[in-house]
C-alpha cells in the first residue's frame, strides 16, 4: 500500500524539475520582454542616480539582485501566515532587513564603496521593482519560483544599470571602472596623476584617435541616463513591435 501511494509523488516530482522551463522563463524574461526598467519602467530613480560610474553601478546591481531574490524567497515562505491587513508592512520589514544587511556588509568589507553609495543603498527599500515582485509574484507562488523570479528581475534591472553606466562613464569621464582597483582610461587626454592601470588614451595607436575628445559633462548628469534609457526602450520596442503599448 505504501509503495503505491509513493509512486504518484515521484511522478509529480519528475514533472517539475528543480530548474525547468517555468523557472528558466522566470529568470530570463525580465532580461528582455518583461524588463523592469525598459518595459515596466520601474526603479528609474536609482537607475538615473547611480549610473554615472560603472563600479558603483555593479555594486548596486549586486545589492538589488540579493535583496530582490531573498525578499521574494522569505515573503513566499511566510505568505500563508501573513495577516492580510498588514501585508505590505510585513513586506517592507523583510526588504528593509535585507537592505540593512547589505549596508552592514558593505561597511564591514568595503567601506569606501559604502561611502560612495550610502544613500542609494538605503533607497533600495523604496525601489518599486522589489515591492512590485513581492506583490505580483511572491505572495502567490511557491518559494523556489519566487526566488528565481526575484533574481531574474534583479538581474534585469542590473543589466540595464550597467549598460547605462558604461555609456555614461566612457563619454562623461573617458574611463571605465574608475574608483575600483582595475580602473581603465579609455578616451580623452591621459591623466597620469590618477595613475590608471591601463591607459590607452592619447599616447599612441587607437587611443590617439580620440586625443582631442573633451569629456561630455551632460553624460555625468542624471539627465543623460534619462536619454539613454529612452533610447534603449526605443531600440527594444522597434525590435519587438509586440511590446509596443497600443493604447
Amino acid at each position: 500500500m505504501a509503495e503505491t501511494t509513493a509512486t504518484p509523488e515521484v511522478t509529480v516530482k519528475e514533472k517539475e524539475p528543480l530548474f525547468g522551463k517555468a523557472e528558466k522563463k522566470l529568470l530570463l524574461d525580465p532580461l528582455g520582454d518583461t524588463n523592469p526598467i525598459t518595459i515596466q519602467v520601474l526603479g528609474i530613480c536609482s537607475a538615473l542616480a547611480v549610473t554615472s560610474l560603472v563600479y558603483p553601478s555593479v555594486v548596486m546591481a549586486i545589492a538589488v539582485v540579493f535583496v530582490c531574490g531573498f525578499s521574494s524567497l522569505f515573503t513566499s515562505l511566510v505568505r500563508n501566515k501573513i495577516p492580510k491587513q498588514v501585508r505590505m508592512i510585513v513586506q517592507l520589514v523583510i526588504i528593509a532587513t535585507l537592505v540593512t544587511i547589505v549596508e552592514l556588509t558593505l561597511k564591514r568589507f568595503n567601506y569606501p564603496i559604502y561611502k560612495q553609495l550610502s544613500v542609494y543603498i538605503g533607497l533600495i527599500i523604496t525601489n518599486c521593482i522589489v515591492m512590485g515582485r513581492l506583490e505580483a509574484y511572491a505572495m502567490a507562488n511557491r518559494p523556489w519560483r519566487a526566488f528565481v523570479d526575484g533574481l531574474g528581475n534583479g538581474v534585469g534591472y542590473g543589466v540595464i544599470l550597467i549598460i547605462v553606466a558604461v555609456i555614461r562613464e566612457i563619454f562623461g569621464k573617458g574611463t571605465l571602472f574608475a574608483g575600483s582597483p582595475i580602473q581603465i582610461n579609455i578616451i580623452g587626454a591621459s591623466n597620469n596623476e590618477v595613475g590608471y592601470l591601463i591607459n590607452t588614451a592619447a599616447e599612441s595607436g587607437f587611443g590617439s584617435l580620440f586625443a582631442g575628445y573633451t569629456n561630455n559633462n551632460l553624460m555625468v548628469l542624471p539627465a543623460a541616463a534619462m536619454f539613454i534609457i529612452g533610447v534603449l526602450i526605443w531600440i527594444q520596442r522597434s525590435y519587438r513591435p509586440t511590446l509596443v503599448d497600443v493604447s
Binding site: G179, N217, V220
Partner: protein
C-alpha cells in the same frame, strides 16, 4: 480577515526576530566597521600629504595606513585660543577616546564657536614637517569637509583632500572624485607677503594661474565651490592662534 490578536502576535514575533538578528549582526561587526571608518579618515588625512609619501595613500593597504599614521603622525588637539589640550580636556569635550583623532568636527560645528576644539596632525618625514588642518563647512546639499596640509613654513599648502556627504555626482562631488581639484591647491599660500591671512579662494571665472591665493572652480558647481572657499577661510582661521605662536617661536629660534 485575521483577528486583531493574531495580527499583533505575528507583528510582534516578526519584529522581535528581525530586531534581534540585525542587532546581533550590527554588534558583531561594529568593531570592524568603526575601524574601517577610522582608516578611511586616516587615509584622507594622509592624502593631504601624499607629496611627502612614496606611495599614494589611496593605493596603500589598511595596515600600511595604520603603521604610517602611528609612526609618522603626531596628533595635537587645540582650542580656539591656540592652546594645546590635554587628554582630560578632550574627554571633557565629549570624546571618550581622549585622542585628538577622536574629535568629530561635525559635533564641534554645533557648539558655540568659542567652545570648539580641533585636531592638528603634524606629519614628520625625511622631506620635512607638515601641519595638517581639518576643516568642515557646508556645500550645496549637505556638509563638506577636508584636510589641508601646510608646509613647515606654515604658509604654503602642500596638499589637500576633500569629502562631502551629499553633493551632486559629477558636479559638487568632483571636489572628492576628481583628483585634479584638490591638487590645484598645492603651492597656494594662506598668508600674503605682508603676513596677513588671506586663505585660498575657489574662483568661478578661473584665470588663477599666477595667483597664489585662488584656484579654479568646477563648472556647474558654484555653490559647492563657494562652500569650499568659506570652509577654508573660516576653518583655517580657527588654527591661526596656534600657527602664529609656532611662527613666532620659529623666528626667535632662527
Amino acid at each position: 480577515m485575521d483577528s486583531t490578536s493574531s495580527v499583533i502576535r505575528f507583528v510582534v514575533i516578526m519584529t522581535a526576530g528581525v530586531a534581534f538578528s540585525l542587532a546581533l549582526l550590527s554588534t558583531s561587526w561594529g568593531g570592524q566597521i568603526k575601524a574601517n571608518e577610522a582608516i578611511f579618515n586616516k587615509r584622507a588625512i594622509l592624502g593631504a600629504v601624499s607629496d611627502y609619501l612614496t606611495q599614494d595613500p589611496k593605493l596603500m593597504a589598511d595596515g600600511e595606513i595604520e603603521d604610517l599614521f602611528a609612526s609618522k603622525v603626531e596628533q595635537i588637539a587645540l582650542d580656539m585660543s591656540g592652546a594645546v589640550l590635554k587628554e582630560e580636556d578632550i574627554k571633557n569635550a565629549g570624546y571618550k577616546g581622549g585622542k585628538p583623532e577622536n574629535i568629530d568636527l561635525a559635533k564641534e560645528k554645533k557648539k558655540p564657536e568659542e567652545e570648539r576644539i580641533f585636531p592638528l596632525y603634524v606629519f614628520n618625514s625625511e622631506k620635512g614637517k607638515s601641519f595638517i588642518l581639518s576643516v568642515r563647512g557646508n556645500g550645496l546639499w549637505d556638509e563638506i569637509w577636508g584636510n589641508v596640509a601646510l608646509k613647515d613654513d606654515l604658509t604654503t599648502i602642500a596638499g589637500a583632500t576633500f569629502d562631502h556627504k551629499g553633493e551632486t555626482p559629477g558636479l559638487g562631488a568632483e571636489i572628492k572624485d576628481n583628483p585634479t581639484f584638490p591638487s590645484r591647491f598645492k603651492g597656494k599660500k594662506i598668508f600674503n607677503d605682508a603676513g596677513v591671512y588671506t586663505s585660498v579662494e575657489v574662483r568661478k571665472i578661473g584665470g588663477t594661474a599666477g595667483n597664489p591665493y585662488a584656484v579654479d572652480g568646477i563648472s556647474g558647481a558654484t555653490v559647492t565651490a563657494d562652500g569650499v572657499t568659506e570652509m577654508l577661510e573660516r576653518g583655517i582661521k580657527y588654527y591661526l592662534p596656534y600657527l602664529n605662536k609656532q611662527a613666532a617661536a620659529k623666528k626667535t629660534k632662527g
